[in-house]
Amino acid sequence: MKKLSSRILGLLLALVMMTAGMSIAAAESAETYPDIEYWFTNEGFLPAEVGGAYYNLTKETIGVGVYMPYVDWNGGQTYREQLALRVAANDMPDIFIYNNGIENSMILDGVALDLTDYLPEYMPHVWEAIPASVWETVKANDPTGQGRIWTIPDVTTFTRHGAYIRTDWLEAVGKEMPKTQEEFVDVLRAFKENDLNGNGAADEIPTGGRMEARWMDYLFAMYGVAMYEGYPEWDVYDGQITYSAVTPNMKEALKFVSDLYKEGLLDPETLLNSAGDWSGKFDSNRIGVYYHIPWVAYQRLQGIYDFTGGAVKAQVANLPQISAEGYEGFITVKPTGNSGKMVSADVAKDEQLMKAAFRVLDCQYNMEYRDLEYGVEGMHHEVVDGKKVKLPEDKATQELLILQTPGCQVETVDVISSRLEAIRTEENSWQIDESLALLNGNQADGKIIAADGMPSSVYDGYEDIQNRTLYVEYISKIISGEYDLDKFDEFVDRWYSIGGTEVTERVREWYAGKQ
C-alpha cells in the first residue's frame, strides 16, 4: 500500500515538474509570437496544420506559425456555416475572411476587432497598400455608424473580367475581329455553322453562359447594363443611381440576348449550366466566345490541349467591349470587393496574440515576403538554376497556401502578371503568354461603377432582392422564350413592390453621402 502511494506521489511530482518546465518554456517563447489560426478559402487542398510544412514555413519566414483546419469553401456556404459554429462556440479563428454581407452582423455582434487605431502603427504595409479612398469607403460603411475600420477589404484595381474569342476559329472562317454588334452576331453565326472543331458533329457553341444568366455579362454590357458575374449592379442611369436590372437598358439587352438564344447562338443549356458544365464545354473545344476572368485562360487552354491529346493549342484574344447603337458598353469594375479579412475581437485579450495577428496581415502586404507565394520547397515549388519554379497544382499533396493566393492582397496588373510568371514552365509558356496578353488587352474597357464600396446592409430585410430571386426567375424565362419581353415591365413593378423602392432609397441616400 505504502509502495503504491509513494509511486503515485512520485508520478505527481514528475507531473508538477513537467508543467513547471512547460511554463518556463512558454515564458521563453514569449519573445516570439503565438500561432495564428487563419481561415481562408480552401477548395480541396490539404489543411495547413500546426507542425506541418506550411506552418513551419510561415514560422520561419515571418516568425508566426499560421494554420487552418480543413474547412471546405463550397462557394462560401460551408465556410460561413462553419464560421458561424465557431462564433456560437465562442472560439473564433484569429483571422478570417468574410464575404456576402456576413461582416455586418459580425461587427454588430461584437465579434470583430476594431482595427482603426492599430492599422498605421502595427500594419503599415496594409495601411499604405490600400488606397485612402477605399479606407474612406470602409469607414463610411461602418454598420455601427461610428466611422471605424473593422475590415481589410480585398481590393482589385484592374479590370478583372472580360470576354475572349477563339482567334484560330475566327481565322478559319475568314472573319475580322468584330467591332459592332452586327459583326459580332455574324461571327457567332459563322462559329455555329462551320464544323470548327472538326469532329464531324454540329456541336459548336458560339457563346453562352451559366445558370441564373451568369457569366455572360458582356452581352448585357453592350447596352450599358452594369453587371458583375451575373449580378446586376447599381450605377448612374438618367442621373440617378439605379439598379441596372430595372432600367430600360436591361430591357433592350434582354431583347438582344433572347434573340440570340432563339437563334441558337447561345448554348441551349445556358440557363442550366453549372460552373463545371460550362468550363467543361470550353475545355472540350466547343465554345467560340467565353466570358470569364481572362488571366486564368491558361487553365482553359490547357483543358483544350489535354482534351484534344495535344493536337489543339487554342488561340484566344480579347473580344473588344462592343456597344449597341446608342449605348456605351463597358466592363463593370468594383475595386472594393464584397469580401476581405477580419480579426477576431478575442485576440485583444492577449497582447502578444494580437501583435501576431497584425504581423501576419502586415506581411501579406509586404513585398519583402513575396516569396511566400511559392509555398514550401518540394511541395509547392522546386528550385531550378537558383530560381523558384512553381510545381503544378496538386490538391492531393499540397497544403493550402493561406497567405498568398489570388484575392489575398491588393490585386493589380503587376501582381497578377508576376503570379502568372511564377507558374510559367517550358510546357505552359504559350498559355502564359496568351493569359498575359488577355490581362493587358482589355484594361481600357473597364469602368468603376457608382456602387463601388456600397455596403450590403442596404439589403437588410430584403433577402429576395439581395439574392435577386425575382430577377433570376423573370430574366431566365424571358431569355428562354417562355415569357414575352413585355413581362419585363411586370418584373420591374413587382421588384419595386417587394422592397425595391426601399432599397433604392437606401442606396441613393448612401450614394449622396459618398459623394
Partner: protein
C-alpha cells in the same frame, strides 16, 4: 365518499408500488432510451424560442432580444408566401397520393416472385438508389434530360425537336414524382416485405384449399394484412407533410421552375441559412411543424374511425 376516493387512491399507489417492484428491470431498460429522447429531442426543442427572438450567435439564447411574433408576421407578409405555401401543399399531396403507395405495390409484386434469386436481385437493384445522394440524382436527372441526354436522343430518333424539361415549369412536378419513386420506393418495400413475411402461411393454405387464385390471395390476404403497417407509415409520413426534403427540390429546381418548385425549405435556405437569419428559419420550421402536428392529429382520428386499433395512439 371522500374516504372511498382516498382508499381507492391509496390502493392505486400500493398497486403501482407492487408493479414497480415486480417489473423494475424493464423500467431500467427503457431508461437509456428515455434519457436519449429527453437529451437529444426534448431539450433542443426549447431552442425553438429563438423564433421569437432576434437571435445573435454571439449573444446566445439568453442574451438575444425578444421580438414577439415579428418573424411570423414577416413570413405571412412575404410576397410569395402563397406561392411557396401552394407549391409545398401540391408537392406534399403528390408525394402522399402517388409516391407513397408505390412501395406497397412493389412489395406485393416482389412477393409474388417465385424464384428467390431473381427476387433478391430485383430487391437489391431497387433498393440501391436510396443510398445515392440527391446531389447525384439531381445531376443524373439534369444529364438524362439535358440537350445531349438520353431523353433528347430518343426524341431525336423519332424526329422530334430537342426540349429541355428542366427549364420548363410544367415538367417539374412529374420529374419530382418520378425521381422520388426511383430513389425511395425500393427502400420503402423493406418494411412491407417484413410485414408480409410475418403473415401466417396457414392463411394462404386454407385460402388455397378454398380455391383462391393467386391474385385473390394477394388482394384478399396479403394486402389487408399489411394495411395496418401502411396506415402507421402513412401517419408517420403525414406528420412531415410539409417537410418535403430540401435536398430533392434544391437539386432539381432552376430559376425557370421556381414558380412551381419553390417550397418552404428552399425559401428558408435562401433567406435564413444563406443570410444567417437563424430566428427566421426557426420560425418557418416551427410553422411547418405546427401544421404537421395538426395533420397528424386529424389523420390519427380518421384512422381510428376506420379501424378499431388503428392510429398511432
Amino acid at each position: 365518499m371522500a374516504q372511498v376516493g382516498r382508499s381507492a387512491s391509496v390502493s392505486r399507489i400500493a398497486r403501482l408500488g407492487r408493479h414497480f417492484r415486480n417489473f423494475w428491470p424493464y423500467y431500467v431498460m427503457i431508461l437509456p432510451g428515455l434519457t436519449f429522447l429527453i437529451l437529444i429531442k426534448y431539450i433542443p426543442m426549447a431552442g425553438s424560442v429563438i423564433a421569437f427572438q432576434n437571435f445573435s450567435l454571439r449573444k446566445g439564447i439568453w442574451g438575444s432580444p425578444w421580438i414577439g411574433l415579428e418573424n411570423f408576421r414577416k413570413l405571412l407578409n412575404y410576397d410569395d408566401f402563397h406561392r411557396v405555401f401552394r407549391n409545398t401543399l401540391i408537392l406534399g399531396a403528390l408525394k402522399t397520393l402517388i409516391v407513397f403507395p408505390v412501395p406497397i405495390l412493389l412489395a406485393l409484386l416482389l412477393n409474388e416472385l417465385r424464384q428467390p434469386r431473381i427476387k433478391k436481385s430485383i430487391q437489391t437493384v431497387v433498393t440501391i438508389p436510396h443510398f445515392i445522394s440527391w446531389v447525384i440524382v439531381g445531376g443524373l436527372t439534369f444529364d438524362v434530360l439535358g440537350s445531349g441526354g438520353l431523353f433528347n436522343q430518343i426524341r431525336a430518333a423519332f424526329g422530334l425537336d430537342m426540349i429541355l424539361p428542366m427549364q420548363k415549369s410544367p415538367w417539374f412536378r412529374p420529374v419530382y414524382v418520378l425521381t422520388s419513386i426511383w430513389k425511395e420506393s425500393g427502400w420503402g418495400t423493406v418494411v412491407y416485405l417484413a410485414a408480409i413475411s410475418g403473415i401466417d402461411p396457414g392463411i394462404y393454405e386454407s385460402a388455397s384449399i378454398d380455391g383462391a387464385s393467386r391474385f385473390q390471395k394477394m388482394t384478399r390476404i396479403t394486402f389487408p394484412m399489411i394495411l395496418p403497417t401502411a396506415v402507421t407509415l402513412f401517419l408517420i409520413n403525414i406528420g412531415s407533410f410539409l417537410d418535403l426534403g430540401f435536398d430533392q427540390v434544391f437539386n432539381l429546381y432552376t430559376p425557370m421552375t421556381y414558380d412551381v418548385a419553390d417550397i418552404f425549405d428552399t425559401y428558408v435556405y435562401r433567406s435564413g441559412i444563406q443570410q444567417g437569419k437563424y430566428s427566421f428559419s426557426t420560425a418557418v420550421g416551427l410553422f411547418q411543424s405546427v401544421i404537421g402536428f395538426i395533420l397528424v392529429v386529424i389523420f390519427n382520428r380518421l384512422s381510428k374511425k376506420v379501424s378499431e386499433d388503428g392510429g398511432l395512439w
